[in-house]
Symmetry: C2
Subunit: 417 residues, 2 copies
């Protein structure tokens, strides 16, 4: 077995940074961010870039029926379940260069370092880019890891359509056509362990002056689609008593929830991020208003209590309209296995870093892998905690520090019997 | 001069009804309405149908720099300013078959009746279809009549863009290219009088069992564009104290205005019909929310008072965001000249109808013509007062009754010295 720290020493900070810049050109926005939504042309372009690097590094590429991308370094004992690392490369419509991308490129950098060091691990190491983690184009997100882990059947995902009516199924066909020579493996396989590196997307590591975070778990999350139905009418002639104004009702619901879903510690996260009104014309009373709700809290009971508030306030403020509150995601808070937290912590300490334990406020694909194998996460800082924003920023040295921890964690996991 | 009632007797109820049905095929929607927004392909198609009928009736067609369509029956003394009648053929995105269309087709029917009766009026009679009355695609509306009457300079209208960024100027070029043989006259000319027939778009005539309304005036209207600017952020990680949630602020404003802009008599009309949120993704705190406000009241002082409430409540509820409240339309209530109301009323009475005087709750192009010439309006009933809705409906007999009144009013006005 390679002695501790030799693979970490091969991590190339400049290459890792440059690859983030290169991948950010696929879907680059004018304000320095990326718009590379799931299964878009921009994401296909990014996958083509990834495949170029993987080919040069001698990795085997494969996909699966939901379009997850796997880059494989075969181990000495290829019959053993592999160690998996990665994240996603799709982005929000106005996303940054690091969210998701870092986990994939850090994995690739680790494999480059293993090859540079001349080691071949006992278990196969696979880098994965999961399909549609973000869920901004096709909701809800984490489709790739949910399908892989058996959380949601493929049949329930394929018909999902974006705002333009384009279905996941059609975009997957386009993806497979773009990479005709890539093997399509069956969905899901035994995994020895999963480790995901990610920017924190919050302010804690930066505030504490730490380069590496040991992620203890992921806060719980509930999402809903709220559909308010009223009746369209002329804005100039229709008296209030005859109106069924869907946007007026939706605004009352949203305002009431923002007033009620608060806590003294500022821990609960409540967001209405999307709304669509029909016919959405200035002089027509709105007939329908459909909006999204995203609610998160690290404590399961508190999350449930606020969830009940959401459903009650939507019903209370419907006025003359009807409202349908449809739950989409209901993910309880989770804690990663102590052994997975421990290996990240001790590895970081042995590398001379001062890791900090913290929960993840954002959801990640590791949530789904946690169901089928021992899983853990490594965080690196994120400037000002700003993410899901074109201004998302981080430091080359922090990305490299996290990749070094990932490298030595993967070396250890891949040597286990 | 033709004796009273002879042109009215030539009004062909079936032809008038059938032409409404035929025109509704340009932009027909699945639910029986029309989507024929200003300067769209659908509106061009409708103008082509109109031109076919006008050509068969021997009318001269012309347009002007804002794309208003004129169909001209030359008078015996063509140097005299013409009598103008008409309305618009653009629709809301989910509009009905009669809003605007009726005024144009009733005018055409009157000219057909004059020809059938073999009369040629002293003054030229022109039928007009004004450009973009509705304002749903390009806001604010009434562009054609505003430009014609000199209310808004052409230079201020041409750069206006729709939600896709397409400018009025580009769509006008497309319109002119579609009708290369049509004369383009200069903008505006002296008009002897303007009479606009329209469905009421309110419930009063139907409730009173009357076929014809003498429109006394138009209620005042103010519109604004409200732009709320916050900051996009990750929905899972960003604490409330760091958020600048533009939709939360917009919802608070809208809810507060719906709570405050009410009156015991249910006369004030307050509508937020359109909202656009960016980036509009479920797990991103909204960075911007832009919404429309439409406020109407028949009393000028009351309208001003509620207008001040709008501006105050938007400022009060901005929270950590910034807000810009931009006035778009500020149209004071107006009263049509007594002589124009009188000629409609007496003509209807002589035809054996029982006209009812009522104000218009909706805005109409007659508002702008009122500035440059004696103007008036004729209303016909509208089922349930429902308009700006695909379910908009009316009766063939009511449309014909209004056209008979219009015919005899135009005969009288066109014979005046």
């Amino acid at each position: 077995m390679t002695s501790f720290g030799r693979v970490a020493a091969r991590i190339d900070e400049a290459r890792l940074w440059d690859r983030h810049e290169a991948l950010a050109r696929a879907g680059a926005t004018a304000r320095g961010g990326v718009d590379r939504q799931a299964l878009s042309d921009e994401e296909i372009a990014a996958k083509r870039i990834l495949l170029g690097w993987a080919g040069a590094a001698g990795l085997e590429a494969a996909t699966d029926p939901i379009g997850n991308f796997f880059l494989r370094l075969p181990g000495r004992e290829p019959a053993l379940p592999p160690v998996l690392t990665g994240s996603h490369i799709d982005s929000q419509p106005t996303g940054g260069k690091y969210d998701g991308v870092y986990g994939v490129l850090a994995g690739l950098e680790v494999v480059e370092a293993m090859r540079a060091e001349g080691i071949r691990p006992r278990r196969t190491v696979e880098i994965v880019a999961w399909t549609n983690e973000e869920g901004s184009r096709f909701a809800p997100g984490m489709m790739g890891s949910e399908a892989f882990a058996g959380v949601r059947p493929l049949d329930a995902i394929l018909p999902v359509a974006d705002a333009a009516g384009v279905r996941v199924e059609a975009e997957l066909a386009r993806l497979f056509a773009a990479f005709p020579e890539m093997a399509v493996r069956p969905l899901g396989f035994p995994v020895a362990a999963y480790v995901e590196a990610h920017i924190e997307q919050g302010p804690e590591l930066e505030a504490a002056g730490r380069q590496v975070g040991v992620v203890t778990g992921i806060q719980g999350k509930k999402t809903w689609k709220v559909a308010v139905h009223g009746e369209e009418a002329h804005a100039g002639t229709t008296p209030r008593r005859r109106r069924k104004d869907a946007l007026a009702a939706a605004a009352a619901m949203i305002a009431a929830m923002h007033g009620a879903i608060v806590d003294a510690d500022d821990v609960v996260r409540f967001t209405v991020g999307r709304i669509a009104v029909e016919p959405n014309a200035p002089s027509v009373v709105p007939a329908t208003a459909v909006f999204s709700i995203d609610l998160r809290h690290p404590d399961g009971a508190t999350l449930d209590r606020f969830g009940a508030t959401v459903e009650r306030l939507c019903a209370d403020h419907a006025g003359p309209c009807t409202v349908a509150v449809t739950p989409l995601v209901d993910a309880a808070p989770l804690i990663f296995p102590a052994a997975m937290q421990e290996i990240v912590r001790t590895t970081a300490e042995r590398l001379g870093l001062s890791p900090m334990a913290l929960p993840s406020a954002a959801g990640h694909d590791a949530r789904n892998l946690h169901i089928i194998c021992p899983s853990g996460m490594i965080f690196v800082p994120c400037a000002g905690g700003i993410s899901h924003n074109e201004a998302e920023a981080t430091l080359p040295a922090d990305l490299a520090a996290g990749a070094r921890v990932l490298a030595e964690v993967l070396v250890q996991l891949a040597e286990r019997a």
